[in-house]
């Protein structure tokens, strides 16, 4: 990772957001002191181990941006009332999240409000 970063810097093409995240899920990636709220449309809802994932498309001033939101595992989501059918592509949702520290759009889920007003949480 550092090597790639160095090469990019030498080439004079330092693009901070394109730095790949190394591996999965230490909470160090997220700023747990901050909570952001986004509104958008579900692009994809992944019901997978070790973590579920939610991709949401957000419209902002004529531009659209995709947010990656990490959920916990299906085992724990199930116990909190989530199901594979809880969210589907095209659903308008409000998501509260602890943002990634490195500027990538998205973060770790705090809550998801579904179109029928149901609030899903995992903690």
């Amino acid at each position: 990772m550092m090597r790639n970063f160095g090469i990019l810097a030498m080439a004079g093409a330092l693009v901070v957001a394109s730095q790949p995240a190394a591996a999965h899920h230490s909470a160090a990636m997220f700023d747990l002191t901050k909570t952001e709220t986004i509104q958008g449309v579900v692009k994809e809802y992944q019901w997978t181990n070790p973590h579920g994932f939610l991709f949401v498309t957000v419209q902002d001033g004529g531009k659209s941006a995709e947010y990656s939101i990490e959920l916990t595992s299906p085992n724990l989501l199930m116990r909190r009332g989530w199901r594979p059918s809880s969210l589907k592509t095209g659903d308008k949702v409000t998501v509260a999240l602890n943002p990634f520290r490195d500027g990538v759009k998205g973060g770790r889920v705090v809550s998801v409000t579904t179109p029928d007003g149901k609030v899903l949480t995992e903690r």
């Binding site: 957001a17 790949p20 995240a21 591996a23 999965h24 230490s26 997978t48």
Partner: protein, 260 residues
């Protein structure tokens, strides 16, 4: 009385961490130095004081994923750990072994926010951890640990147990050196763990004393609180779908299989 003293010590330690570790040593004299305890020679088991059969969740008011107070590390291990903490403070996934789907092993298996199912019989207590479908067999039949090369390094080690009045004592050695004992803290093959388990109105408490003369300055005494649960266990395999994060050309973070 001894446990109460220890609990007070633990509570005090939460406020003044550097003062810990000395007080509870008396309760666990046998653990000092990392030498395995032989129940045959030193412990005659009392009658079982309680039955742990059921499902339990670890309660972690001090925060999930590790132990408090901080381990009393020798300088070399402290250097490794401080480096990890520094990198994590910068948002990096430093030495995140469980995060990379490695089974946590003992003792970190006790820090996961997943339930544990325990089956207790007179000669064997089996602990099944939902997290990574991990199992411990605690032999209650008076046997000793395997000696020498018969002791195969395993992530959860080899456990024997016996009863001391109202306390279940579990003694574990043979932990493989791959997993850490605290995220970012290594150990050696001298790691020795003694758990003293007592029933509480809500579940059970376990006082965990770790010794490893190569890593720890003195015994590291910590505690976990378990609460009874009506959960049913479900399989959990970490390395299933997506444990690697990459950022695509549009700057969107994706989770993919390691091989992709």
């Amino acid at each position: 009385m001894k446990l109460r003293l220890t609990l007070i010590a633990c509570a005090a330690a939460a406020i003044a961490a550097p003062a810990i570790a000395q007080a509870p040593q008396a309760t666990l004299a046998a653990a000092v130095g990392g030498a395995p305890v032989s129940p045959k020679s030193t412990h005659k088991s009392d009658k079982p004081a309680f039955d742990l059969t059921g499902v339990w969740w670890v309660s972690q008011p001090e925060g999930a994923g590790g132990f408090k107070p901080d381990p009393p590390l020798k300088p070399e291990a402290m250097k490794v750990w401080q480096d990890v903490l520094k990198q994590r403070a910068e948002g990096k996934n430093a030495r995140d072994k469980t995060g990379n789907c490695q089974p946590p092993g003992l003792p970190l298996i006790m820090t996961r926010v997943y339930p544990t199912q325990i089956y207790q019989t007179p000669k064997l207590i089996t602990m099944i951890y939902e997290y990574q479908n991990s199992v411990r067999w605690i032999w209650m039949d008076g046997r000793d640990h395997p000696q020498g090369e018969d002791l195969i390094p395993t992530y959860n080690g080899h456990s024997i147990g016996w009863w001391e009045g109202d306390t279940l004592v579990v003694d574990t050695v043979g932990m493989h050196t791959d997993p850490d004992i605290q995220p970012g803290v290594p150990h050696t093959d001298k790691l020795h763990i003694v758990e003293r388990i007592k029933l509480t109105p809500e579940g059970f408490d376990t006082e965990i004393t770790m010794t490893d003369p190569n890593i720890l300055e003195r015994p590291w005494v910590t505690k976990k609180v378990y609460k009874k649960s009506d959960s049913e266990l479900v399989e959990y395999v970490c390395l299933q779908e997506n444990n690697n994060f990459v950022t695509d050309k549009d700057g969107v973070l994706r989770s993919v299989r390691p091989s992709e």
